[in-house]
Protein backbone atom coordinates (compact mmCIF):
# COMPACT_ATOMS: atom_id res chain seq x y z
CA UNK A 1 0.00 0.00 0.00
CA UNK A 2 1.41 3.42 -0.90
CA UNK A 3 2.64 5.38 2.08
CA UNK A 4 1.86 8.96 2.91
CA UNK A 5 3.31 11.34 5.48
CA UNK A 6 1.38 13.23 8.13
CA UNK A 7 0.12 16.70 7.16
CA UNK A 8 2.67 19.48 7.06
CA UNK A 9 1.07 21.43 9.94
CA UNK A 10 1.87 18.52 12.30
CA UNK A 11 5.48 18.56 11.20
CA UNK A 12 5.60 22.33 11.58
CA UNK A 13 4.41 22.14 15.18
CA UNK A 14 6.87 19.34 15.90
CA UNK A 15 9.75 21.43 14.54
CA UNK A 16 8.69 24.45 16.55
CA UNK A 17 8.42 22.46 19.78
CA UNK A 18 11.75 20.68 19.31
CA UNK A 19 13.61 23.90 18.54
CA UNK A 20 12.34 25.39 21.81
CA UNK A 21 13.09 22.20 23.74
CA UNK A 22 16.61 21.96 22.35
CA UNK A 23 17.09 25.73 22.57
CA UNK A 24 18.39 25.86 19.05
CA UNK A 25 16.84 27.45 15.96
CA UNK A 26 17.64 25.75 12.66
CA UNK A 27 17.99 28.35 9.92
CA UNK A 28 17.66 27.70 6.23
CA UNK A 29 20.61 29.37 4.49
CA UNK A 30 21.56 29.76 0.85
CA UNK A 31 25.19 30.40 -0.07
CA UNK A 32 25.43 32.17 -3.44
CA UNK A 33 28.40 32.83 -5.63
CA UNK A 34 29.93 31.77 -8.87
CA UNK A 35 29.94 28.16 -10.00
CA UNK A 36 33.21 26.26 -10.24
CA UNK A 37 36.11 28.44 -11.24
CA UNK A 38 34.77 30.70 -13.93
CA UNK A 39 36.28 34.04 -14.51
CA UNK A 40 37.68 35.14 -11.20
CA UNK A 41 41.37 35.71 -11.66
CA UNK A 42 42.39 38.35 -9.17
CA UNK A 43 45.98 37.50 -8.24
CA UNK A 44 45.60 36.74 -4.55
CA UNK A 45 42.40 34.78 -4.92
CA UNK A 46 42.91 33.22 -8.31
CA UNK A 47 40.71 30.24 -8.91
CA UNK A 48 40.80 29.90 -12.69
CA UNK A 49 41.19 26.18 -13.34
CA UNK A 50 41.84 25.76 -9.65
CA UNK A 51 45.41 24.38 -9.66
CA UNK A 52 46.40 22.56 -6.50
CA UNK A 53 48.59 25.34 -5.12
CA UNK A 54 45.69 27.82 -5.07
CA UNK A 55 42.99 25.34 -4.14
CA UNK A 56 42.63 26.68 -0.63
CA UNK A 57 42.14 30.17 -2.02
CA UNK A 58 39.47 29.20 -4.52
CA UNK A 59 36.24 31.06 -3.88
CA UNK A 60 34.12 28.22 -5.19
CA UNK A 61 35.83 25.94 -2.75
CA UNK A 62 35.16 28.56 -0.08
CA UNK A 63 31.45 28.48 -0.86
CA UNK A 64 31.44 24.71 -0.41
CA UNK A 65 33.37 24.98 2.85
CA UNK A 66 30.88 27.54 4.17
CA UNK A 67 28.04 25.20 3.28
CA UNK A 68 29.72 22.29 5.06
CA UNK A 69 30.50 24.39 8.12
CA UNK A 70 26.89 25.60 8.40
CA UNK A 71 25.41 22.14 7.91
CA UNK A 72 27.71 20.95 10.71
CA UNK A 73 26.46 23.76 12.96
CA UNK A 74 22.81 22.74 12.87
CA UNK A 75 21.71 24.80 9.85
CA UNK A 76 20.35 23.63 6.53
CA UNK A 77 22.67 25.23 4.01
CA UNK A 78 22.43 24.90 0.26
CA UNK A 79 24.09 26.35 -2.81
CA UNK A 80 22.85 26.75 -6.35
CA UNK A 81 24.74 23.91 -7.95
CA UNK A 82 24.88 23.76 -11.71
CA UNK A 83 24.90 20.01 -11.92
CA UNK A 84 22.82 17.21 -13.34
CA UNK A 85 21.84 19.35 -16.30
CA UNK A 86 20.32 22.12 -14.16
CA UNK A 87 21.47 25.64 -14.89
CA UNK A 88 20.22 28.38 -12.63
CA UNK A 89 19.24 31.63 -14.25
CA UNK A 90 19.33 34.68 -12.00
CA UNK A 91 15.52 34.73 -12.05
CA UNK A 92 15.39 31.13 -10.82
CA UNK A 93 17.65 32.04 -7.93
CA UNK A 94 15.44 34.98 -7.01
CA UNK A 95 12.38 32.72 -6.97
CA UNK A 96 14.11 30.64 -4.31
CA UNK A 97 15.57 33.51 -2.29
CA UNK A 98 12.24 35.31 -1.88
CA UNK A 99 10.73 32.28 -0.13
CA UNK A 100 9.76 32.97 3.48
CA UNK A 101 11.54 29.83 4.63
CA UNK A 102 14.94 31.16 3.50
CA UNK A 103 16.45 32.88 6.54
CA UNK A 104 19.79 34.17 5.29
CA UNK A 105 21.55 34.53 1.95
CA UNK A 106 25.34 34.67 1.93
CA UNK A 107 26.79 36.10 -1.25
CA UNK A 108 30.44 35.94 -2.27
CA UNK A 109 30.61 37.90 -5.53
CA UNK A 110 33.42 36.71 -7.75
CA UNK A 111 33.08 38.46 -11.10
CA UNK A 112 31.12 41.22 -12.83
CA UNK A 113 28.10 38.98 -13.47
CA UNK A 114 27.71 38.11 -9.85
CA UNK A 115 28.02 41.78 -8.89
CA UNK A 116 25.05 42.55 -11.17
CA UNK A 117 23.21 39.65 -9.60
CA UNK A 118 23.94 41.01 -6.14
CA UNK A 119 22.54 44.41 -7.17
CA UNK A 120 19.41 42.70 -8.40
CA UNK A 121 19.02 40.81 -5.10
CA UNK A 122 19.60 43.98 -3.09
CA UNK A 123 16.89 45.82 -5.01
CA UNK A 124 14.31 43.24 -3.94
CA UNK A 125 12.85 44.12 -0.56
CA UNK A 126 12.04 40.47 0.13
CA UNK A 127 15.70 39.44 -0.30
CA UNK A 128 17.63 42.50 0.94
CA UNK A 129 17.10 41.88 4.69
CA UNK A 130 18.47 38.36 4.31
CA UNK A 131 21.64 39.39 2.44
CA UNK A 132 25.06 39.01 4.01
CA UNK A 133 27.82 39.91 1.56
CA UNK A 134 31.37 38.62 1.98
CA UNK A 135 33.97 40.63 0.11
CA UNK A 136 37.73 40.09 -0.32
CA UNK A 137 39.06 42.98 1.79
CA UNK A 138 40.85 44.60 -1.13
CA UNK A 139 37.45 45.38 -2.69
CA UNK A 140 35.78 46.53 0.53
CA UNK A 141 35.23 50.31 0.57
CA UNK A 142 36.91 50.69 3.98
CA UNK A 143 39.85 48.34 3.63
CA UNK A 144 41.00 48.38 0.00
CA UNK A 145 42.17 50.98 -2.45
CA UNK A 146 39.86 49.90 -5.25
CA UNK A 147 37.74 52.62 -6.83
CA UNK A 148 36.08 50.26 -9.28
CA UNK A 149 32.42 49.82 -10.07
CA UNK A 150 32.49 46.70 -7.91
CA UNK A 151 33.53 48.67 -4.85
CA UNK A 152 30.89 51.33 -5.46
CA UNK A 153 28.19 48.63 -5.46
CA UNK A 154 29.41 47.44 -2.05
CA UNK A 155 29.54 51.02 -0.85
CA UNK A 156 25.91 51.64 -1.77
CA UNK A 157 24.74 48.39 -0.22
CA UNK A 158 26.72 49.07 2.94
CA UNK A 159 25.41 52.61 3.29
CA UNK A 160 21.80 51.56 2.73
CA UNK A 161 21.67 48.28 4.57
CA UNK A 162 25.05 47.29 6.03
CA UNK A 163 26.08 43.64 6.05
CA UNK A 164 29.09 43.93 3.76
CA UNK A 165 31.94 42.13 5.48
CA UNK A 166 35.62 42.17 4.44
CA UNK A 167 37.50 38.91 4.67
CA UNK A 168 41.01 37.67 4.11
CA UNK A 169 42.21 34.19 3.31
CA UNK A 170 45.27 33.46 5.38
CA UNK A 171 45.37 37.10 6.42
CA UNK A 172 46.57 38.03 9.89
CA UNK A 173 44.52 41.21 9.87
CA UNK A 174 41.21 40.37 8.25
CA UNK A 175 38.90 37.66 9.59
CA UNK A 176 38.49 34.30 7.97
CA UNK A 177 35.19 34.10 6.04
CA UNK A 178 34.18 30.90 7.83
CA UNK A 179 34.49 32.67 11.18
CA UNK A 180 32.45 35.64 9.93
CA UNK A 181 29.69 33.31 8.76
CA UNK A 182 29.64 31.31 12.00
CA UNK A 183 29.41 34.45 14.11
CA UNK A 184 26.65 36.02 12.04
CA UNK A 185 24.63 32.81 12.01
CA UNK A 186 25.05 32.23 15.75
CA UNK A 187 23.66 35.69 16.49
CA UNK A 188 20.79 35.18 14.04
CA UNK A 189 19.94 31.82 15.62
CA UNK A 190 19.81 33.37 19.10
CA UNK A 191 17.46 36.11 17.91
CA UNK A 192 15.12 33.68 16.14
CA UNK A 193 15.06 31.36 19.15
CA UNK A 194 14.05 34.27 21.32
CA UNK A 195 11.23 35.09 18.89
CA UNK A 196 10.12 31.45 18.92
CA UNK A 197 9.99 31.25 22.70
CA UNK A 198 8.03 34.51 22.82
CA UNK A 199 5.57 32.98 20.36
CA UNK A 200 6.35 35.44 17.57
Amino acid sequence: MPVKLVPRREIHELVRGLQIELESYTPNIVVCGESPCRGFSEKRLACVDCPDDTRSACLYDLRQRIKERLNGEGCIATTFEESAGITYASMDEKLVLIKDEVDLVFVIPTYEGSISELSSFAEDGRIRPKLRVLVPYMYHPFYGLSSSYVTSVYEELMAEYGHVYPFGLGSEVHPDPLDIVSTLVAVYKRRRLLELTRGQ
Binding site: M1, P2, V3, K4, L5, V6, P7, R8, I11, H12, L14, V15, L18, Q19, E21, L22, S24, T26, N28, V30, K67, N71, G74, C75, I76, A77, T78, T79, F80, E81, S83, A84, G85, I86, Y88, A89, D92, E93, L95, V96, E101
Partner: protein, 109 residues
Protein backbone atom coordinates in the same frame (compact mmCIF):
# COMPACT_ATOMS: atom_id res chain seq x y z
CA UNK B 1 14.26 2.43 23.54
CA UNK B 2 13.45 6.09 24.26
CA UNK B 3 13.57 8.44 21.30
CA UNK B 4 15.92 11.33 22.03
CA UNK B 5 15.57 14.27 19.65
CA UNK B 6 18.68 16.11 18.56
CA UNK B 7 19.66 18.85 16.13
CA UNK B 8 19.87 16.41 13.23
CA UNK B 9 16.28 15.31 13.82
CA UNK B 10 15.22 18.97 13.77
CA UNK B 11 17.11 19.46 10.50
CA UNK B 12 15.31 16.44 9.04
CA UNK B 13 11.91 17.67 10.21
CA UNK B 14 12.58 21.19 9.04
CA UNK B 15 13.36 19.81 5.60
CA UNK B 16 9.97 18.09 5.64
CA UNK B 17 8.21 21.28 6.75
CA UNK B 18 7.24 22.25 3.20
CA UNK B 19 4.37 21.01 1.00
CA UNK B 20 6.50 20.40 -2.09
CA UNK B 21 9.22 18.58 -0.17
CA UNK B 22 6.60 16.40 1.54
CA UNK B 23 5.33 15.41 -1.92
CA UNK B 24 8.88 14.65 -3.04
CA UNK B 25 9.58 12.43 -0.04
CA UNK B 26 6.27 10.60 -0.45
CA UNK B 27 7.16 9.93 -4.08
CA UNK B 28 10.61 8.62 -3.21
CA UNK B 29 9.27 6.52 -0.32
CA UNK B 30 6.86 4.86 -2.73
CA UNK B 31 9.09 4.40 -5.77
CA UNK B 32 12.76 4.61 -4.98
CA UNK B 33 15.12 5.42 -6.69
CA UNK B 34 13.65 8.41 -8.48
CA UNK B 35 15.21 10.63 -11.14
CA UNK B 36 15.18 14.43 -11.17
CA UNK B 37 12.79 14.42 -14.15
CA UNK B 38 10.39 12.07 -12.38
CA UNK B 39 10.34 14.37 -9.34
CA UNK B 40 9.75 17.39 -11.56
CA UNK B 41 6.90 15.71 -13.45
CA UNK B 42 5.34 14.42 -10.24
CA UNK B 43 5.31 17.86 -8.62
CA UNK B 44 3.74 19.47 -11.67
CA UNK B 45 1.10 16.73 -11.82
CA UNK B 46 0.35 16.95 -8.09
CA UNK B 47 0.13 20.72 -7.95
CA UNK B 48 -1.37 21.30 -11.40
CA UNK B 49 1.03 24.13 -12.14
CA UNK B 50 4.36 24.71 -13.84
CA UNK B 51 7.29 24.38 -11.51
CA UNK B 52 10.66 25.82 -12.31
CA UNK B 53 13.49 23.25 -12.48
CA UNK B 54 15.65 25.47 -10.31
CA UNK B 55 12.99 25.33 -7.60
CA UNK B 56 12.88 21.53 -7.80
CA UNK B 57 16.65 21.41 -7.57
CA UNK B 58 16.63 23.70 -4.51
CA UNK B 59 14.07 21.51 -2.70
CA UNK B 60 16.00 18.34 -3.55
CA UNK B 61 19.20 19.92 -2.28
CA UNK B 62 17.52 20.82 1.04
CA UNK B 63 16.45 17.18 1.39
CA UNK B 64 19.95 15.93 0.57
CA UNK B 65 21.73 18.37 2.89
CA UNK B 66 19.44 17.43 5.79
CA UNK B 67 20.08 13.72 5.19
CA UNK B 68 16.52 12.87 4.15
CA UNK B 69 17.54 11.82 0.65
CA UNK B 70 20.76 10.54 -0.85
CA UNK B 71 21.76 11.51 -4.37
CA UNK B 72 23.64 9.31 -6.82
CA UNK B 73 25.01 10.83 -9.99
CA UNK B 74 25.02 8.72 -13.14
CA UNK B 75 26.65 9.52 -16.47
CA UNK B 76 24.94 8.49 -19.68
CA UNK B 77 26.68 7.28 -22.85
CA UNK B 78 26.23 10.85 -24.23
CA UNK B 79 28.17 12.05 -21.19
CA UNK B 80 25.12 13.72 -19.64
CA UNK B 81 24.72 13.57 -15.86
CA UNK B 82 21.58 12.25 -14.21
CA UNK B 83 20.64 12.28 -10.53
CA UNK B 84 18.83 9.48 -8.72
CA UNK B 85 17.36 9.97 -5.27
CA UNK B 86 16.63 7.54 -2.45
CA UNK B 87 15.44 7.96 1.13
CA UNK B 88 18.39 7.44 3.49
CA UNK B 89 18.31 4.72 6.14
CA UNK B 90 18.65 7.48 8.75
CA UNK B 91 15.51 9.24 7.46
CA UNK B 92 13.59 5.98 7.15
CA UNK B 93 14.33 5.18 10.80
CA UNK B 94 13.46 8.64 12.08
CA UNK B 95 10.27 8.92 10.02
CA UNK B 96 9.08 5.66 11.57
CA UNK B 97 10.26 6.53 15.09
CA UNK B 98 8.48 9.88 14.96
CA UNK B 99 5.27 8.29 13.68
CA UNK B 100 5.23 10.41 10.52
CA UNK B 101 3.96 7.64 8.26
CA UNK B 102 0.28 7.11 7.59
CA UNK B 103 -1.19 4.72 5.05
CA UNK B 104 -2.84 6.38 2.07
CA UNK B 105 -6.17 4.71 2.88
CA UNK B 106 -6.16 5.61 6.55
CA UNK B 107 -8.66 8.32 7.50
CA UNK B 108 -6.96 11.59 8.34
CA UNK B 109 -7.59 12.85 11.85
Amino acid sequence: MTFVPDINVVRLLKALDNELRLKIVELVLNSSPVSFSAVHEHLEAETGRRINKGTVSYHLDILVQSNVLSRELERSSENKTYSRYEVTDYANDKIKALGLLVSRDAPLA
